[in-house]
């Protein structure tokens, strides 16, 4: 019942990342963010503030949107993780990508992976979100260049496409 050693030595973490079982040797208190970027070379997940305020490092952990900078990797042992790389095959991704392009929802791109993850998480729960839902769903994702209106518009349009098509 104790899968983890009581030392700070590296040990094997096994989890599903973007649909594939991955095994990495890591220290239990390494941040999930660092293991994804450094060990698994999944650099689509960005580090912004590193303290859970900006949402750049958003991933889905067992289907829930989380800030991967606040997750010790030991807590991801046995879990299912989806990053921006894995979301590219998601059914809603095509619509979101088109809408972000059309509405100018991305500029420097640092916040974009997190915005997309938060938008997917929202649309899965609320396929037809009101603007207030979109604002709330993306409130934990900060953008310092694009401006939020284009991003909200992109998510609105993506949701509409999903419904009409």
């Amino acid at each position: 019942m104790n899968p983890l050693p009581e030392t700070s030595a590296t040990y094997e973490i096994s989890f599903s990342v973007n649909g594939e079982v991955k095994k990495v040797f890591a220290l239990p208190m390494e941040r999930l963010l660092d293991v994804l970027r450094n060990d698994l070379k999944l650099t689509g997940t960005k580090e912004g503030c590193g303290e859970g305020e900006c949402g750049s490092c958003s991933v889905l952990l067992d289907g829930m949107l989380v800030n991967s900078c606040l997750v010790p990797v030991a807590q991801a042992n046995g879990a299912t993780v989806v990053t921006i790389e894995g979301i590219s095959v998601h059914a809603k991704m095509k619509y979101l990508q088109e809408a972000f392009l059309e509405c100018g929802g991305a500029q420097c791109g640092i916040c974009t992976p997190g915005m997309i993850l938060a938008a997917v998480h929202l649309l899965e729960k609320k396929p037809e979100p009101a603007l207030a839902d979109i604002r709330e769903g993306l409130a934990g994702n900060l953008c310092r260049c694009t401006g939020y209106m284009q991003i909200f518009e992109a998510v609105t349009n993506a949701a509409r496409r999903k419904v009409t098509k």
């Binding site: 019942m1 700070s8 303290e51 989380v66 807590q75 938060a118």
Partner: protein, 292 residues
């Protein structure tokens, strides 16, 4: 300076008994970590004093919300998302559901826990005044057994609590007797989303024929601990709500709170806003009667 993960231990016993045994074997050494929304921030900044961490995120009995005829029992590791989604919490404890919706963005609500918020003991935490007015009771558990503490006695001073060195918060119990109350939740911060409060109020009241039959008030960010406004409550109980009462309530509030100047606000501003929030609640109580 960023923390070096090699200097920290994190163990995952996987069940409550094993967690408590470890805490008893080395009291005050093991810091429980659930969703990490407070602990990991300190850790990443290199400011976490503890070197030994104990994973309680994966303990099923800490994640349940149990409904009984007379109360609900919320596992300490229930997330804000779980609170917001729970039908009884939303319907009978709207102040708690509202405070949960104020706490960070969705990603932090998916990880932040009610027990963590209590143990972190920030006087600015938005969900804690709601627990005070709902007359919460916390169950503290250790290998020595369990004990129940009225939540209003839990916080003893700034970041000081009734928790013993080997104890864990197991659950938070709320009596189901407030659904007939008018409730009022109000947070004042620098902006709407995700800002730490300058002042926040949780209030419950009952009124008939303009007279206050019951009133319960608690505030965040106005004292070293989440504060029950017991003097203001006493000054209001049984009184007819009229402008002079509202004026005197403002003064009682200002005398009862102990706000400070800090990076978010000033003591003077907080005192003025605290009085205004209570006044706003009293006006809402009056309006609730005229509307029906």
């Amino acid at each position: 300076m960023r923390a070096d993960p090699a200097e920290y231990r994190l163990v995952s016993p996987g069940n409550l008994q094993a967690v408590l045994s470890l805490m008893a074997s080395e009291p005050a050494q093991w810091l429980p970590i659930a969703g990490g929304t407070d602990v990991m921030v300190l850790y990443s900044a290199g400011k976490l004093p503890n070197r030994k961490l104990l994973n309680i995120w994966n303990i099923p009995e800490l994640r349940q919300i149990e409904v009984f005829p007379d109360r609900i029992r919320i596992g300490a590791a229930c997330t804000y998302t779980a609170l917001r989604q729970h039908e009884i919490v939303s319907r009978e404890f709207p102040l708690l559901a509202t405070a949960a919706s104020w706490t960070g963005g969705i990603a932090n609500q998916n990880r932040g826990t009610l027990g963590g918020n209590i143990a972190n003991a920030s006087p600015a935490a938005d969900s804690l005044p709601a627990l005070l007015v709902y007359d919460a009771e916390v169950t503290l558990i250790s290998v020595r057994g369990e004990r129940r503490v009225a939540y209003r006695n839990f916080h003893t001073d700034y970041k000081q609590t009734a928790l013993a060195a080997d104890e864990l918060i197991r659950d938070i119990s709320l009596p189901r007797r407030f659904s007939g109350y008018i409730s009022h939740a109000r947070k004042v911060g620098a902006r709407n989303a995700q800002a730490i409060s300058k002042v926040c109020l949780a209030a419950l009241g009952q009124i008939s024929n303009g007279t206050i039959r019951d009133v319960r008030l608690a505030m965040g960010s106005v004292a070293p601990i989440p504060l029950c406004l017991t003097k203001t409550e006493r000054a209001l109980l049984g009184k007819q709500i009229e402008p002079s009462l509202i004026d005197s309530a403002r003064r009682t509030v200002a005398k009862e709170i102990r706000p400070i100047d800090d990076i978010r606000s000033t003591a003077r501003y907080r005192a003025a806003v605290a009085g205004n929030l209570v006044a706003e609640f009293l006006e809402k109580l009056v309006a609730s009667e005229t509307n029906t």
